[in-house]
Symmetry: C2
Subunit: 299 residues, 2 copies
């Protein structure tokens, strides 16, 4: 394959693992690193036979000689750890290499890393994803990108291995701020959906019939279509974890403060999520927001 | 037409007017009443040539001899006025007639009217609609219904003239509570969408690209698809008026109190809407909620 690249992949979690697998499948050579070595070993066992794959002990070792470094880790601190310092990837790259970060992090660190890369003759794209574990497994993620046109032209062919919708939003940090827009939209939507489910249940309505009636119009949402029935059935052990949502909302609220934008409902629902974490729901889907609302029953 | 009925239609506003027109077009005989006579005259001018149409001076006069009375007025008080008392429709109907109310009103008055009809040998269906003026004009409304199976069996053939999705939710009042579910879902959704638009704009993002990136996933909603661009452009003079939304939310919050259900975000956004009314936005689309959020610009 003529456009096959040497790619260092950092972070083999539920998202990064299958994404790196899709890259292998597309013909790229992968040198993979994961902080927990056991997870790296099991990744190699699952995907290694698909193509040219090997493991590295540090991000720097993975990055040496790579055309592209791709990271998909947890948060700002994790990203700083795999990129910066003596064991970090950035110091091991030759000028001209491309860095793509798929972690949802702050816009601040995305802009910092873009500047650090530019100073070192590297290119950087901040590229948080949406679509969850299912999207990573099926290779149909949405990817929101910030970076230069030149960096995007090189990043898109690689990201196409797992991205169904790749949008170049703007310059450095724009991918992260677009992802924040996504999470902000979900907060109030999920709060009112929770209230609606409790209300309908307390009113004794047939939940399937209500869904049928309201899902065709102005109240429709992806969350309504995919979560109404599970919320009504108290099922939350799947999907996108509240712990991760709170991490994302922390960055979004920080950025709103920087921008001078008021986000009262986002901030309120972030606090509501803290209540659900305190109830032990941190690993549950964001739809577990409904758990903090008592079930009605005055009638 | 064998199933042609004598129908009294009460309320020829932006919703009721075209709905009554669709009934005429389907072959029914219409005797129409509107509180403001001038509006009734212009309705007759627009639709009268379509079929057998005439006007009445009072709801009672319209209802005399009717098989079905259909109302589409403003609120609880308006509905009580056209139904009850010496000039009201109920007293003029012969036993066996059917009453269908399309107004969005309280569940309380819907249950009361159902009981009054039952006592008089009449049938009653509470049937609020969604789909707005466009849905009324095109005859593609969603209709949420509360009533008996027998009443529904008679109501559906008539409502099919303008209803694309007709769902029998449950007994008396269930149509109204389902409509409340619809409005509750919109409140927080619109609040977070407003914050997201302000955030994206202050961050300097390309609004069309952000929409493209976030509208395919977990943040998607009908409001996002239909209002994101108009909100970004400060365009609000169309759609579903905030004054009407506040009327609906008043009934929803009253019913939540009756049910013993907590609806904190619904109640908060209702207050936010009061702020937009105070800014002169009462006749604007519900997406004008964004007007209360100052535009950012610290960066």
């Amino acid at each position: 394959m003529s456009d096959s690249k040497n790619i260092a992949f950092l972070g083999l979690g539920v998202m990064g693992g299958p994404m790196a697998g899709h890259l292998l499948n597309a013909g790229h050579s992968i040198t993979a690193y994961n902080r927990t070595a056991a997870r790296a070993e099991s990744w190699l066992k699952r995907f290694g036979t698909m193509g040219d794959a090997r493991l590295a002990d540090t991000p720097a070792e993975a990055a040496r000689g790579a055309d592209i470094v791709i990271s998909c880790v947890g948060n700002d601190d994790d990203l700083a750890q795999v990129m910066r310092g003596p064991d970090g990837a950035l110091g091991a790259l030759a000028p001209g290499a491309l860095v793509i970060d798929h972690t949802t992090v702050s816009a601040r660190i995305a802009r910092e890393l873009a500047a650090e890369c530019r100073a070192a003759g590297l290119e950087f794209v901040d590229a948080p994803v949406s679509g969850g574990q299912a999207g990573a497994e099926s290779g149909k993620l949405s990817i929101m990108c910030g970076g230069t046109e030149a960096a995007m032209a090189r990043a898109v062919p690689a990201m196409s291995a797992y991205g169904a919708r790749i949008v170049h939003i703007g310059g450095a940090g724009a991918g992260q701020t677009a992802k924040m827009v996504n999470q902000i939209c979900i907060t109030g939507l999920m709060a009112s959906l929770s209230e609606a489910v409790r209300f309908a249940d307390a009113a004794g309505l047939d939940m399937d019939k209500v869904l049928e009636a309201v899902s065709g119009g102005a109240a429709q949402s992806w969350q309504m279509e995919h979560r109404w029935q599970t919320m009504a059935a108290d099922e939350f052990d799947f999907g996108f974890a509240i712990d991760w949502m709170r991490k994302d909302l922390g960055y979004a609220i920080e950025e709103a403060r920087t921008l001078g934008v008021s986000v009262p409902v986002t901030a309120l629902v972030d606090q509501f999520y803290a209540e659900v974490q305190a109830m032990g729901g941190g690993r549950q889907d964001t739809s577990a927001l409904i758990r903090r609302l008592p079930k009605g029953g005055a009638r």
